[in-house]
C-alpha cells in the first residue's frame, strides 16, 4: 500500500508567468495594425460592397475624400456633401484640395497621386461625376472607389 501513498512534490498550480508575455504579444499586434484616424468623419459612411477589390500599394500617395449626407443635417443640410480633411468643401474646392495634397509629395510623385473617394451608398452619381471632372482638370487621374469585400 505504501506505493500509492507516495507523496508527489510537483505543484498543482498552472504557471502563469508567461501570461503577461502572451498579452503583450496581442497588444503589440494591435498597436502595429492600428491606424489612428486623423480626421473625424462628419458624413454618413456606409461603404458599398464589391468583389473586385484591389489594395493600394503606396499609402503616402493616397488622399481621401468623403461623400455622404452630413451627420448633422440641421447645421449642414440633408444633401450629400464632400468632406476633405476636417471640413466640408464645395465642388470647386476640390481643385484646391488636390493641389494642396500634391504639394505634400515629391516632384516625381505628383502625378502619381491617388484620390480615394469614400462614398455613402445612398448617394447619387451626380456628385461623384463632379469630383471626377475636377480630378481630370488638375490631372490627378488615379481614382479609387472605396469598397468593402462582399462575401458571395
Amino acid at each position: 500500500m505504501a506505493k500509492f501513498k507516495k507523496k508527489s512534490n510537483t505543484s498543482q498550480d498552472i504557471p502563469t508567468a508567461a501570461l503577461p508575455d502572451i498579452i503583450f504579444m496581442l497588444l503589440f499586434f494591435f498597436m502595429v495594425t492600428t491606424v489612428l484616424r486623423e480626421s473625424t468623419i462628419m458624413v454618413k459612411q456606409s461603404i458599398p460592397k464589391a468583389t473586385q477589390l484591389r489594395k493600394l500599394s503606396q499609402k503616402k500617395l493616397v488622399s481621401y475624400l468623403y461623400v455622404g449626407k452630413p451627420n448633422d443635417p440641421k447645421k449642414f443640410g440633408a444633401e450629400p456633401r464632400i468632406q476633405a480633411n476636417d471640413a466640408f468643401i464645395e465642388v470647386d474646392g476640390i481643385i484646391q484640395f488636390i493641389e494642396e495634397e500634391k504639394g505634400k509629395l515629391a516632384e516625381n510623385e505628383k502625378d502619381q497621386i491617388t484620390i480615394s473617394i469614400k462614398v455613402d451608398d445612398e448617394t447619387k452619381m451626380g456628385i461623384v461625376a463632379d469630383i471626377q471632372e475636377k480630378m481630370r482638370d488638375v490631372n490627378a487621374r488615379k481614382l479609387m472607389y472605396a469598397a468593402s469585400k462582399r462575401a458571395d
Binding site: 503577461p20 495594425t33 473586385q52 452619381m125 461625376a129 481614382l143 472605396a146
Partner: protein, 210 residues
C-alpha cells in the same frame, strides 16, 4: 559554494497581466482596421479645349453599351436587364469574340488557354478583337452609387477573370499580384498584353439629380 539554499529576489509581477490587459482593451476599442481597398480606375486625360473632339470611327459592333437611367434601370446593348450578375459572362463573351481577327489578333487567340477559346463565338456582329472592343458605361446624375459600383465591379471582374485565366491564376490571385516583384510584374504584363481594359465611363446624363 553552498548557494543552493538562497532564494533569488523576485519582483511581484502578478499584476503585469492586468496592466497589459488594460492596454490591450484600449487598443481594441480605438482600433478601426484600415480598409484601404476598393475599385481602382484611371480617368482619361482632360480634353484639350482647343482641339475638336476626335471623330469616332469605331464600328458599333465593337462597342458594348451599358446605360443606366435615373431610376436605376439598366439597358445593356438595347435590352433591359434586371440582374447585374449576368453582365460578367456577357462582357467576357463580347471581349473574347474575335469576330474579324487580323494577324495579330489571330496570334493572340492561338495563345489563349482552351477554357477561354471556348468562349469565343466568332460572331460577325460582335467585337472584332480584344484591342478594339470597348465597354461603354453611361449613367445618369440621378443613378444611385450602389448600382454604379455593382456594374463597375462586374465589368472589372470580367476582365480580371480573363487576365487570371491567361496566366493560370484566379481573378483574386491576379488582383493580388505585387507589381514591385519582378516575377509577378512579368505575369501581370503577360496577362494584360493585347487585352487592354477598355472600360469607358461616359459623362453622365442630366435627367435625374441636380
Amino acid at each position: 559554494m553552498a548557494r543552493s539554499g538562497r532564494k533569488l529576489p523576485e519582483v511581484n509581477s502578478s499584476s503585469m497581466a492586468d496592466i497589459a490587459f488594460l492596454l490591450l482593451v484600449f487598443f481594441l476599442v480605438t482600433t478601426t482596421i484600415a480598409t484601404d481597398k476598393g475599385l481602382t480606375l484611371t480617368l482619361p486625360p482632360k480634353a484639350d479645349p482647343n482641339e475638336p473632339p476626335p471623330d469616332i470611327t469605331k464600328n458599333q459592333r465593337n462597342i458594348f453599351k451599358i446605360l443606366v437611367n435615373s431610376s436605376d434601370r439598366i439597358l445593356v446593348e438595347d435590352e433591359p436587364m434586371t440582374d447585374v450578375k449576368e453582365l460578367r459572362s456577357m462582357v467576357k463573351e463580347f471581349v473574347l469574340n474575335f469576330g474579324k481577327a487580323d494577324e495579330d489578333a489571330q496570334a493572340l487567340y492561338n495563345a489563349l488557354p482552351q477554357s477561354l477559346k471556348a468562349l469565343s463565338l466568332k460572331n460577325e456582329s460582335s467585337s472584332d478583337n480584344p484591342k478594339e472592343a470597348v465597354i461603354s458605361f453611361k449613367a445618369d446624375r440621378g443613378t444611385s452609387y450602389d448600382i454604379y459600383i455593382a456594374i463597375l465591379d462586374e465589368l472589372q471582374g470580367a476582365y480580371y477573370e480573363i487576365y487570371g485565366e491567361r496566366v493560370g491564376l484566379t481573378a483574386d490571385e491576379f488582383r493580388a499580384l505585387d507589381r514591385k516583384k519582378p516575377d509577378e510584374q512579368a505575369k501581370y504584363t503577360a496577362a494584360r498584353n493585347g487585352f487592354p481594359m477598355n472600360i469607358s465611363i461616359a459623362e453622365p446624363t442630366k435627367i435625374g439629380g441636380k
